[in-house]
Symmetry: C2
Subunit: 349 residues, 2 copies
Amino acid sequence: MAGVVESREWYLAAYAPEGVPTSDHLKLRTVTLSPDVDSIPDHHLIVQNIFISVDPYQRTLMSGLEDGLYFSQTKLNEVVSASTIARVIGSKDSSYRVGDIILNPFGPIAEYCVIPSALYLRKVDPASELPLQEYLSSLGLPGFAAWVGIEVLGDPKPGSNVFVSAAAGGVGMFAGQLAKLKGCRVIGSTGSDEKVKLIKEEFGYDDAFNYKTETDLDAALSKYFPNGIDIYFDNVGGEMLEAVLNHVNKHARIPVCGMISQYKKIWTERQGVRNLLNMVGKEVRMEGFLVGSHLNRFGDFAKEMESYIKEGKISSKLKIYHGIESYLESLGSLFTSSNFGKVIIEVKK
Amino acid sequence: MAGVVESREWYLAAYAPEGVPTSDHLKLRTVTLSPDVDSIPDHHLIVQNIFISVDPYQRTLMSGLEDGLYFSQTKLNEVVSASTIARVIGSKDSSYRVGDIILNPFGPIAEYCVIPSALYLRKVDPASELPLQEYLSSLGLPGFAAWVGIEVLGDPKPGSNVFVSAAAGGVGMFAGQLAKLKGCRVIGSTGSDEKVKLIKEEFGYDDAFNYKTETDLDAALSKYFPNGIDIYFDNVGGEMLEAVLNHVNKHARIPVCGMISQYKKIWTERQGVRNLLNMVGKEVRMEGFLVGSHLNRFGDFAKEMESYIKEGKISSKLKIYHGIESYLESLGSLFTSSNFGKVIIEVKK
């Protein structure tokens, strides 16, 4: 190959300590790169992104606040990152050939890019009959996060009372379905009546409620959990976590996957959780987790989840945005309860 | 035996939702009971208390607030409870003989009482050369709580950075010493300069600070933990827990034994912990515990602790109050940083 290709990419123009990032913070620019494989270092690949995953944690890398969150902040002027599904168009690694489809767990939000052929890249089996985008959803990190929280940390038993917040979201939808498959009684919370319906009808939760209309969370939890909560899969933190801590059973487990209610705020201005003392009396275990620390279990997960998906035992809902230019809008949608299921950008058909 | 014995006992006259209980809430009364063993039911004992353990959790049973704490509230007019060391003076259980010394983990704060010879009573080996009161301290539930938090939940490694709050208290003094014996670097916090000295000189902590003078907890933790905190043995909750969560290392463990800063307050009026989100980024495990759930490990603990005590590897500090009439004062002392080590009442010489 010769010449150059044009590639659009999203970069961080300014930090956004508060609120949802806007076009002041995230900007699209066009760069050129050489498609000539001789132009890249050894153990690198040139790839074209096909699908890009849009996840709440990405927002935490744009605050400019080094407050113990997740990963380091994205540097100003640098391209922001996400999990992507990409096609190899040039390879300086004998394990990858042109045309291979790969899952890149943490790469540039760009149309084309050069990436190291590093540890956690994963090739998609060309014999797989599953849609490619599922490798960013049920079979990717969102599905894996749900599996780690429920199966590794949650210790679900038949009849356990399980509560999942953000239950129609990219991770929550799988958390509840996995708990159901273990014989648990599962209730979800979400931010619209339409999503309540989805959770019950499509994801098979025993029940669900809209936290925006049932604003007395304590009363809601009393109603939906007359026998208390054994496992709370926390995606939201804040007030909901506080309410849950007044309804936990002895030895309850709280795997904390994220706290989306907390991402937009500087921590000293957040409303604190006032009833942690209940964790002593009820002997509660609360555990934050990142999927990266559990990758040794990814194989077990993939095998289990693939068979669930093939047997139709797990339903996966995707919200697809089109074109790389949709990143800003799709990221914002995560914080306004406006989307269903997993948010993904289709960069190229 | 015939006739009657007079026995003084502390009963709950009124609930104390706020503040430290006073003589309005806790009152001493004299009752009579028959020392005749024929007067008691089968599988019961008549005992004379020798030592009574005074512990912070006792205060939580007097608030009248059923808010998920520990055990059920003491009923009004009922005798309040504590761990005691007692002598059997009458027995309707063939496993116990008059003169046996027993540890009663949860019995009436009284000079004499009739108790069921139930599950968790434990006989003190008459061949033991250790002072009896140690069975309420290093060899009793405080020592066991420290052991569970550090060894069962804390996963200490040589070089781990360990922080213990209320480090001169009945549990904290052992938590830090056990961590030191595992090769950890241990720092404690406490409420007076005198106790800082004690912690360093008698308990062998690497360092300690007075949270009443080093009021910028964040700065204090930066100073004492330049490499972050791996294990926080929490006895106090509240502001200190929040400060710790800004200094935790990846995969830190926070066994929560108690939250003494929180006991006096109605939960909705407490200052919340605002930075729980750090638990996700740092993958922190926080776990409340009660010793009652770990009694299957008591034997392992007792063996280990007894050898430490006999070899002089663990120092135990007692603050002895004299006479059952001292209960109110001794309980109050727990909430004013005025005592050192484990608080015990010697009922009878």
